[in-house]
Amino acid sequence: MLKKISLTVNGKLCSGEVESRTLLAHFLRDGLRLTGTHLGCVVGRCGACTVLWNGAPVKSCMVFAVQAAGDDIVTVEGLAQDKRLHPLQEAFWKNDAVECGYCTPGMLMSAYGLLDKRIKPTEKDIERAISGNLCRCTGYGNIVAAIKEAALNFTK
């Protein structure tokens, strides 16, 4: 049976019809066609599908779309404002923190969840924040460097 849900995604009110079992990740990708949120395992281990749910990073393959009804979601498409890259996106580019790009949206959203707390993060904080996000290409070093750099000039 289909249920109608409405939620705010990247600042815009969106609605759609979903099954109870429809994952938030599938609703974002197939329902709203926001395909920046990627799927790498669908069991909550790789982190490629990470989005912000009411301000906190969550693996959107572990949430049913109906659970997020009425809530606030931010995806990677919501990071850049007025066509200007977010400092995290700039830093990922500059520090070569990306190869194939598949894990990148999840990495960015986990990092965004950390920096959005407005606390100056330590290297350990950064590692903890992205410890649930797997990257097979870069070996993580440049990703940590990028997040560190973005933390220095992060403004909301």
Partner: protein, 794 residues
């Protein structure tokens, strides 16, 4: 051989990658992001047995379910398609591979039926409703048992599980062993692992009935070869097939081969007249993506007392899983067991064995990783036996720089190298001497610190007839608007070709880097070429871009020379102009040349064709396509390497290993973009650390895969990153115009031998010997326990 390397910026610059912008904004397009109107979704019924006859597949209940459009079994399609061609040896050619298992299943998870439905959820529901009646057969999982007479046979058509054999021996090998002071022998196994790109495999086939044509979007690293294979099995004209590899989320070898599901989707789309999509789950990737490594080497080395290496004899048993289709992994090991050492006496017997495991295939460092792991372990074992320092024994036997190009015993032609320098510098970076002194102190305090040395070498740019080619190509066009486009024969899965190709073309033509667009992965506009593997891009593809750039430069200068009335040799390109080197005022705008080439062809030099479009090919110049009378040949074009020193602490209470420092010096020749090389090396090293310490595909005796999720198959996360010191030395490859060697795999080759050597060194006071990997805490604790039991008995 001495070649000139006319390398000018932006070649060699750490240019920011073009492709990164779309990846950080979430606007890349991977196969799963595509959803043409009317798309249906496939899901597979997979074998729950490792080896069984299929007595029946009941699909009626599934066909009747809501949203289900079709269900096909292996039997339904066996007469509708041709089997996938299998090559490599006369034995392998007898194997037939169908998109869905027919009559019997040979490994756990093999696809045997497919459901097509309105969406993935409904397709998966219907898969649950299919019931399969199996008649189980005896299972063979251990490759050595599979070689025994009377073992269950995986492929009855072949009649034996030995599906591949290779023998090579130099004259007088036995005499060397008779005359040796010492012979060290060991049995060493490289364990089975999975590539695990974060994007699993994904395919979308769209048959267009009106045009009788097929478009296939595939997360493949090998679009042109895939196109031919789809044409073969469907008996469909290749000219009517277009394969597009859009953004591909990593490959590491696993996406270069063609898969059962990949060949089935085009058939389904043609039958049903709708686009059909299938995206692999992670569990399916573990069960069905090609596996890597898993070779058992029984190897011996003859030495003099002073550590001089005299000869190597090896027997390789390679577990190929159920339906092996190529022989690369065996050959890439068998030809290189003498590694970086001056050993001209060598013998090998290699066997490829079928078992009831998932099919084996390419995985970053295929065969080469097994070879370097086994050899670098054996060298350490020899050093311990002879009471030599592991650095000293290597230094004594390295091929010296002046011996290049160097032919090894099997005929492989190594391009260049400075092994002594690389290891010396690594030792300095790691503080080797000091750490040896500290080690003794730490041992007194009960801290088990070990230092492991390795020098790993990676044959790159495999060039074999009908398999991997020995060439690549780039077509370069400046269109009438002045837009510059390069069409590359190879796709990318994270390597940054859009950037490096543009750097090369910019360097050659003077056209600004920002104005150059690179198109890849689409068989319609791009020229033919083999897949992105064997670290081939920088060895053949980038030189083909260099050749295309040179052809374009010559054409532009030729047109300008006629218009300016000076010889082409006196001209330069820059700032959008062609100008006389000695008089910059005498110039013509590049756009004026473009207009001439397309619209004012009466002004072109005599016999010059109109337009500005050229194709550059580059052929590896140093490849043998047939062996000599003694069976020797060179099938790889360049030989990058890395020296590694790993320092570890082993906690003997918990079995945990901490990497205190990982120092490495890497040589891939000239670097087109050193930033890209650095990042790739870091990732490659982490993948190697995963293989050495955490990752293993394990089967039970019934052939069930026990490690099919990221819970039980553990990839390294950011928390496992060690203190890493990475430097490069540059010994150019004399066989390409750019002087570059491959750069993708060497990093991954280092950790398995270096970490095993380090851990064995750390635990040497306890007498621990490591012969099995990965070095998980439970394995370490078992080894310590065994060693203690042995010493108590002694």
């Amino acid at each position: 051989m001495i070649m000139e390397f006319p390398i000018t910026p932006p070649i060699g610059d750490r240019v920011k990658r073009k492709e990164t912008l779309r990846f950080v904004t979430g606007t890349g397009h991977y196969v799963d992001d595509l959803l043409p109107p009317g798309t249906l979704h496939a899901a597979f019924v997979r074998s729950s047995c490792a080896h069984a006859r299929i007595k029946g597949v009941a699909v009626e209940a599934a066909r009747a379910m809501p949203g289900v459009h079709a269900v096909f079994t292996g039997e339904d399609i066996a007469h509708q398609v041709k089997p996938l061609r299998v090559g490599g040896s006369s034995l392998l050619r007898q194997i037939k591979l169908y998109p869905l298992a027919v009559d019997k299943v040979r490994y756990y998870g093999e696809p045997l039926a497919v459901v097509v439905a309105d969406n993935r959820y409904l397709a998966e529901d219907a898969v649950e409703a299919v019931s399969v009646d199996y008649s189980p057969l005896p299972v063979v999982i251990d490759p050595e048992a599979a070689m025994e007479p009377g073992a269950p046979i995986v492929h009855e058509d072949v009649g034996s599980n030995i599906v591949y054999k290779y023998h090579f021996a130099t004259d007088g090998i036995d005499k060397v062993f008779q005359d040796a002071d010492v012979v060290v022998r060991e049995r060493i196994r490289s364990h089975r692992i999975a590539a695990c790109p974060i994007e699993p495999r994904a395919y979308l086939a769209h048959y267009n009935k009106e045009e009788d044509s097929l478009t296939m979007w595939s997360a493949t690293a090998n679009p042109h070869s895939l196109r031919g294979r789809i044409g073969d099995i469907l008996d469909f004209p290749e000219g009517k097939i277009r394969v597009i590899a859009p953004d591909v989320g990593g490959s590491f070898g696993v996406k270069i081969q063609t898969y059962q599901e990949e060949l089935l989707l085009p058939y389904l789309s043609r039958e049903l007249g709708r686009p059909i999509k299938w995206c692999e789950t992670r569990v399916e990737h573990m069960r069905n993506g090609r596996h890597g490594r898993d070779q058992i080497h029984t190897i011996e080395m003859a030495l003099k007392k002073d550590g001089t290496m005299l000869g190597i004899k090896d027997k390789i048993i390679a577990d190929m899983g159920s339906t092996y289709t190529v022989d690369h992994s065996i050959m890439a090991a068998a030809l290189y067991m003498t590694g970086v050492y001056q050993i001209q006496n060598y013998a090998v017997d290699a066997f490829g064995i079928s078992t009831n495991k998932t099919t084996h295939g390419s995985l970053r460092g295929i065969g080469k990783a097994d070879a370097s792991y086994v050899l670098e372990r054996l060298v350490d074992i020899a050093a311990r036996e002879l009471k030599l320092d592991p650095i000293d024994i290597r230094m004594k036997n390295f091929i010296p720089p002046e011996a290049f190009p160097y032919r090894n015993a099997t005929g492989a032609l190594y391009d260049s190298g400075q092994y002594q320098l690389a290891l010396k510098r690594t030792a300095a970076m790691a503080g080797y001497e000091q750490r040896r002194k500290e080690q003794a102190e730490l041992r007194k305090r009960g801290i088990y610190r070990g230092i492991g040395v390795a020098l790993v070498m990676e044959p790159t740019s495999s060039s074999r007839i009908h398999a991997t080619g020995g060439y690549a190509s780039c077509r370069l066009r400046i269109d009438p608007s002045g837009a510059v486009t390069v069409f590359s024969s190879m796709g990318e899965q994270g390597q940054g070709h859009e950037t490096t190709i543009a750097q090369i073309v910019a360097s050659q033509t003077g056209i600004p880097f920002d104005k150059i667009t690179v198109i890849h992965g689409d068989t319609l506009p791009t020229p033919y070429g083999f897949g992105t593997g064997s670290s081939r891009s920088s060895v053949v593809l980038m030189p083909s871009a260099w050749v295309a750039g040179k052809l374009m430069r010559d054409k532009i200068l030729g047109i300008a020379a006629r218009q300016l009335g000076v010889a082409p040799e006196k001209l330069e390109i820059g700032d959008g102009k062609v100008f006389v080197r000695e008089n910059h005022q005498q110039s013509i705008a590049v756009m004026e040349i473009v207009r001439t080439a397309y619209g004012a062809i009466h002004l072109l030099p005599e016999n010059m064709e109109p337009g500005l479009e050229v194709t550059g090919y580059f052929v590896n110049p140093n490849i043998d396509y047939a062996p000599d009378a003694k069976g020797r040949m060179n099938t790889f074009s360049s030989y990058p390497y890395a020296a590694v020193i790993a320092v570890v602490d082993v906690d003997v209470e918990t079995g945990m290993i901490k990497i205190v420092k990982y120092a490495t010096v890497h040589d891939c020749g000239n670097m087109i973009n050193p930033q890209i090389v650095d990042t790739q090396q870091q990732g490659s090293i982490m993948q190697g650390i995963g293989a050495a310490l955490y990752e293993e595909l394990r089967y039970d005796e019934d052939g069930q895969l026990l490690t099919s999720t990221f819970m039980d198959y553990r990839l390294p996360s950011v928390e496992e990153v060690p203190e890493l010191a990475l430097e490069h030395i540059v010994t150019p490859n004399p066989f390409t115009p750019l002087g570059a060697k491959g750069a993708g795999e060497t990093g991954m080759l280092g950790p398995p031998p270096a970490l095993c050597n380090a851990v064995e060194d750390a635990l040497s006071p306890l007498g621990v010997k490591i012969r099995e990997t990965p070095l998980t805490p439970d394995r370490i604790l078992n080894l310590i326990e065994q060693a203690q039991a042995t010493s108590h008995h002694a």
